[in-house]
Symmetry: C2
Subunit: 341 residues, 2 copies
DNA sequence: GTGAAAGCGCTAACAT
DNA sequence: ATGTTAGCGCTTTCAC
């Protein structure tokens, strides 16, 4: 069922039907009602492609996920984020166009999207410090929202971010409250903006307690399980081992936990681990499970908010730039280690 | 730069330029060369939307991911699968349209896609026994490939699947070879086709060794960490505990490993765990890491194969139905437990 | 308040 | 081998 058929059916012109369906003010309320009902009854649904051709708008949002040429691992937070954003798009009749592109071709992909107007806007994932994508998109005139921040000129572009530094500061403070004095940081790659902020929060908490950051118990790398295991193992084996860990990402934490299981228990120590995790499902445990304490933020929620912000901007409801800083939640689990630590 | 402009620039008609660019046989080789070069020089790229309108084909593949109304968790294998498929689409100039829809609206989504011809084909994820989506898509005439199988009439539709029963049979046999006689199964929800097959493989291995399946050491549930932990804990605490586990999914295995750490070691036992995992990155460990033994299959690879099969079918290169059964790889890690078990 | 007609960028008959 | 024309399904002037 297309516009023409629907119009014939109603004995109206395509124009009027189109106007009725798109909330143009000039159509008679009675007519509009009749049209809307007929549309639903025949479950008419407009052809987004034709609509896009006619209006120059695509009713689609692009997500460009760079695939590293080094390794094919996909950051698991993408899935949650995409799920959140996707629901918003569905609800607003927009399509989500996902492009998995080798990181070298990312710029070309954006240029292409802009040239062909195949999307109305894009979400930028995983910003780094001084991320070149921001000025590129500005130059291309493609509306965008960054999930995270790219270091500087924060108020010049739209973003939704978690307060990463605060999260890590609170996590570290919590460990101090438990009595720990030697707290390790197992962080992500610090050329990623979020990781840099996490370190800053950690360092600030140390400073507040009169401690200088000690490189011997600070690590930064890609957040794999192996990395967590190796990092924790080497730190635990050192002469002045930590009694607690602040860890970025659940996957890394799994490695850390294993190292503690292997070594920490053998050492007769009680060791605290506090995790920052973005994927709620991983930590959704029943009450009799000894989960670790975590600072958690819902990347699913962030996805929804990013999508809403972008649609809002595209529809011209709010003037950009818009910024949104989310706080995360401290979830205290069973295995925080004893207060005597 | 659009077709018209390019055509004017070359002093040719739009038609000829279009034909040259789309490999129509009738155009003069010299002309084609000239056109192709001019297109690249002006980096012309066709408007997929207009192309779709004109041809009735959309140059897009749909992935419908049902979001459970119960819980918002997203199966992490989607991310890997989507990444694999996405690369194939990019390489073939197709868009990937991702719809995250509440599971109740799934049928409506498919009907809509078919009515509006917004995609040329779809991938069906997570098939169940007698999955209604298959007959629905057949009825709608929308080409599709199923990732997995839906129980019956396997040769009637296109699918790419891992040999799940064989995988679990081999895993179980491997544990028998190590000397185990009491082997537990921690499986996914058995209304999912893959989980049913996994149990069958497990049971077959038991039978081959003269053992009847014992419900006391077989579990089936949604594959969370909590479930793994609870399942393993209760089985280990029973009067006749298992000495080895065959586990579906890495996440569940994390729970199982934790239960073994908590209980198994206290019992002074050496316990083997063998995991089926689809997300390669989780198990990508360095050589000095004591990984657990795993039967692993690359869902990333499966994604690529599904996408290739679907494009091939759409382009009419091979007559459907097409089926592809992949074997998984047995990776023997460090912690398989001693042969004396 | 409603309709006729042009046009978005492309492809596909149908000429020539 | 190339060009002319119509049309995909919609929106948007412009007229009435």
């Amino acid at each position: 069922m297309n516009l023409k058929e629907l119009a014939n059916l109603l004995g109206l012109s395509q124009t009027t039907v189109s106007r009725a369906l798109n909330d143009y003010p000039e159509v008679n309320e009675a007519t509009r009602k009749r049209v809307v009902e007929a549309a639903r009854a025949n479950n008419y649904s407009p052809n987004n492609r034709a609509k896009g051709l006619a209006t120059g708008r695509s009713m689609a949002i692009g997500h460009v996920i760079p695939i590293s040429t080094q390794h094919e691992i996909v950051n698991p937070i993408f899935a949650d984020f995409i799920a959140g954003a996707g629901q918003v798009y569905s609800a607003n009749n927009h399509d989500m166009l996902l492009s998995m592109v080798p990181d070298l071709e990312e710029e070309a992909t954006y240029r292409n999207m802009a040239a062909r107007r195949s999307v109305d806007g894009v979400i930028v994932h995983g910003p780094r410090a001084h991320d070149p994508r921001i000025s590129l998109l500005d130059e291309l005139g493609l509306p965008f929202v960054v999930h995270g921040r790219a270091g500087q000129n924060e108020s010049d572009y739209n973003w939704v971010d978690v307060n990463n530094s605060r999260s890590f500061q609170r996590a570290t403070n919590f460990l101090f409250d438990l009595g720990h004095r030697r707290i390790a940081l197992v962080n992500g790659l610090e050329d990623m903006d979020f990781a840099r902020r996490r370190r800053e929060g950690y360092v600030e908490a140390l400073r507040d307690h009169g401690l200088a950051p000690d490189p011997a118990i600070m690590r930064s790398s890609e957040m794999t399980e192996e990395y967590g295991w190796k990092a924790a193992r080497s730190m635990l084996a050192s002469t002045n081992p930590p009694t607690a860990f602040v860890v970025s990402s659940m996957l890394t934490a799994i490695g850390v936990r294993r190292a503690i299981g292997d070594i920490g228990q053998r050492m007769g120590r009680d060791i605290s681990v506090i995790i920052h995790d973005d994927v709620l499902s991983y930590l959704r445990n029943g009450d009799d499970i000894p989960i670790f304490t975590a600072v958690r933020s819902s990347v699913h929620h962030a996805g929804r908010l990013c999508a809403e912000m972008l649609l809002d901007i595209i529809q011209g409801h709010t003037p950009p730039p818009r910024n949104l800083l989310l706080e995360s939640e401290l979830v205290v689990g069973g295995s925080t280690g004893p207060l005597r630590a």
